[in-house]
Symmetry: C3
Subunit: 398 residues, 3 copies
């Protein structure tokens, strides 16, 4: 295997979309359940270690735990248990070589590390991405009226942005940071999982929002968590974030079995993207696989659209290079970001970073070898894709 | 060209989805009409030998007939006529190196070899896949009532499974096998060709089935073959097969000009797959091109979903490696099967197998060369993908 | 970088779909606005020179202007200004090595070179592609009645075909050619941009056309240009062209931000392609990215369907080889055409040709190296794809 391009090896990657990791040791079934987007291994299909992601864990993570490359799954899990989850997390997040991380705190089915704890483990500043639907669902739980809903959501969202202030999660950042909150630098919509991405383009009017909120709130039961799935309200949330100047991330494409890919294709956002281009606030298409070429197209033709290939990068293992090459066919080099979408397993922080570095290095080296660009171009592109674009989108300090 | 990986070269592939081959000699036009999914060569487009599949026949099949590699089409067809179809079939099926074959007997527009004859020619046990719509169409031809339809179909399907008993088609398997029937190990739905794959998720109730059957049967004419195209009834058939524990194959994607790709995307099955996951009976997505990445996703997230890249493998010729690599980005190695989907031409049995071996060898060797996995991993994966997965799905003897 | 295959290097490519180039010098912003399908560089995304297309311009076009490969953008633009647009155009079109060009004259938002001027610059015969919607819009501006609309359109279209006669644009072709008109050899539909490609299959009847024309004409205002967007009328236009024996090009997939990819997928044309197969007049699917595999499928199964990978070829830069390889998985070698879709910048004529040659050479050489075909096959395929197929489709002299 060729060495990484030095400019790529030296990058402190900004991981602009990631999640907490679990704060406990894991059984083999528990580990496999967090490894891919399957719920867990099935008797019909066999172990999920027999996937590109599973083989990549053995290849890339075993050495970080002090094992030979390609350690067998049982050996890997035994060593993991021996070190304990805290040490495993510290080693793997440190190995990712990050220069910053933006943590989506909206999904935490299990007790997980906070942005501040992740930042501490990674040795890099942490920021927060607020999940829009969660904000709405929190407001729904407060007994708000339909007509008051929009203002309460806007206030709560603005409050989240304010509360973080200029503070950044991480070591020595004061009590709030240690309590888990990082500065909010962006918002995320999971409309893809709820109504699908065929959102209408226009900003919904106050009466339209109140009517939709009324319908939704009428069905919310006090004894069950509210779950938003309403086209008008997803759209309202997107505009509320854009109004605050918050970059909006959209889940696109690949996810677990709850997503329906036919409703998660980024081209379904075309009309909304056209309508929001003028606002000058970034919209970031997450994951995208297998629609990463479509995402590249949108990133080219709309001035405010960005894309990544997170989640897929570590799930594709050694095919991450093919993925990145396809995404960067149409996406300008100033429009593609790095993210891991790591969730649950600290392995995914390291895997995402290691495979992305390898993919980016392969791509740039191939162009150097056939004289498609210069070393100087390659270095500039590496810096943009690995960190600069994310710093520009989320206005992170250099 | 590098040698095949020894573990791949030694594989006795299980071809889990294939069809009969014609029992006659063929003119050039007749041969070209069976070579790809085009009806035949067109004056505008020229010879179908000028396709990836056509070039691959000259490369891979000519030597099996005793000709130099890349023999010209006329030379190839002359040699084929000289040997005669029976000898050509025997040579090409034997060259495929099969360890078993599951024959879809539901489509036979021309007099074709039976499963037993194919098994004999291939020197490997033959099994049968029963086409669900054909069973329904046979029942429709018996004068059944709308209310009796569901039971008659279930009985007939169960009867087909029973009739095959433990017998396997092939040499020395007794009179039933020689008469053509192999043991039924799975069922196939061609809903993609009829109503499209956007099937509702739930098992249709008895009254719903009776009403749909009534509408359909009212239009069936005694002087024309019945043709089923009804969403409720396709869905009923799928559940009827799953109830018997029969793995259900779905035609997906690539086919002839009668298919409409917009209705043949595997993601359209998402809701049905979610609804049937609990039953623990395999569902197998056939062909899938150009939606093989989508199929890989479904095979990852649903415990009972499997996929193949049949039909496309031989049609893509030397690009079969790119295809397999994409399908295996998300599909676990325990979820991808080998099949040729050979139909009409015995060449397609050999081409499918030869190109699949080459593709699998390339994929595994590339991973070995860049240290993504070990020789032991590569050998295990080859065994799963080439034969083990199919034996597990269809419960075939080892 | 390996040398081009000699048969590919020697090809005089027929560029079967291209546009005029601007007749003025360009600022940096003006140049970037014409470089990709983005409207221009954005403050969020940075310079469009940092795209595959931008890097490819510096690599491939700089030497044609007498600069070193990879000249920096400012240096490139300074040299361009120094030479002047006329000389730059002459050099770049000449460097493309064309044997003919078919110019779509239906879109010219800026003063652009005529087919005759392009032919003169390229040193190759020029032909014309008439845009169907433009013909209808011209007729709409004449005060035609709804019932007279169909006949007026058919007459005007026939008149355009007639007017060109046997004449070919180019040096020494007489006054008409110099006035800009080349012989009309095909028609183009931009239904993808207007109603989308989900056109019904059947030829619309006279009353249906008159009714649709009535609805459209009622909304046409004398002080604004008419803009057709009516499913019945797009379809009527396609049939009107086929009736004249004119090959019909369809915009498919990739374009600027006005296109909606969900409505520009070529599979949406399936029913119309099935309905028109019998007429024996070619239908050509343009661009197709990211649906070029779908286009390859359609080109295989329908006798009259052809495809290209224009526009994407130069936008993908060094990835053009991956694109062509995917398009040629299913498309017969007799069904794929070369085109640049160059528009505005003369660079795109040269880039399209240079990158297509490289892609075709890579593809053919890879097959030679792993013994998938012979030198003779490679030469024949190069000739078909680079020129022969286009000559057959548009009945161009050899």
């Amino acid at each position: 295997m060729p060495e990484l391009l030095p400019e790529v090896a030296a990058l402190r990657l900004v991981d602009h979309h990631c999640h907490g990791v679990v704060r406990r040791d894991l059984s083999r079934d528990g580990f496999e359940a967090l490894l891919t987007e399957a719920d867990g291994p099935s008797p019909l299909g066999g172990s999920l270690f027999d996937t590109q992601a599973g083989l990549a864990v053995r290849r890339w993570c075993a050495p970080v735990l002090g094992l030979p490359r390609h350690a067998e799954p049982e050996e890997y899990l035994a060593r993991r248990a021996e070190l304990g989850h805290a040490e495993v997390t510290r080693r793997l997040l440190r190995a990712a070589g990050l220069g910053g991380l933006c943590v989506d705190t909206g999904y935490a089915p299990r007790p997980s590390l906070s942005p501040a704890e992740l930042a501490e483990a990674a040795g890099a500043p942490g920021y927060e991405i607020v999940r829009l639907e969660r904000v709405a669902e929190e407001v729904a739980g407060t007994g708000v009226s339909a007509t008051g809903f929009a203002d309460r959501v806007r206030e709560r969202l603005a409050g989240r942005v304010h509360a973080g202030g200029g503070r950044t999660a991480g070591a020595g950042q004061g009590p709030e940071a240690e309590a888990g909150g990082g500065r909010v630098v962006g918002a995320k919509s999971v409309a893809a999982y709820r109504t699908g991405l065929a959102l209408a383009p226009d900003r919904p009017g106050p009466r339209e929002v109140a009517a939709a909120a009324g319908r939704w709130l009428a069905g919310v039961r006090p004894d069950a968590p509210a779950r938003l799935a309403d086209e008008v309200l997803h759209r309202f949330l997107v505009y509320a974030a854009l109004d605050l100047g918050l970059p909006v991330q959209f889940h696109i494409g690949y996810g677990d079995s709850d997503v329906h890919l036919a409703r998660a294709n980024p081209v379904l956002l075309t009309d909304l993207l056209r309508a929001t281009a003028g606002a000058g606030v970034p919209v970031v298409l997450l994951h995208n696989y297998p629609y990463h070429r479509e995402a590249g197209y949108l990133a080219q033709v709309f001035p405010h659209v960005f894309a990544d290939v997170s989640l897929a990068t570590h799930n594709l293992g050694r095919r991450a290079g093919a993925l990145l090459a396809e995404a960067l066919e149409l996406a300008p080099f100033g429009k593609l970001l790095y993210a891991s979408d790591a969730c649950g397993l600290p392995e995914l922080y390291h895997l995402g970073a290691a495979l992305f570095r390898r993919a980016l290095s392969e791509l740039l080296r191939a162009g150097l070898e056939d004289d498609s660009w210069t070393e100087r171009d390659a270095g500039r592109i590496a810096g943009m894709v690995g960190a600069g674009n994310a710093r520009r989108v989320y206005r992170l300090p250099a």
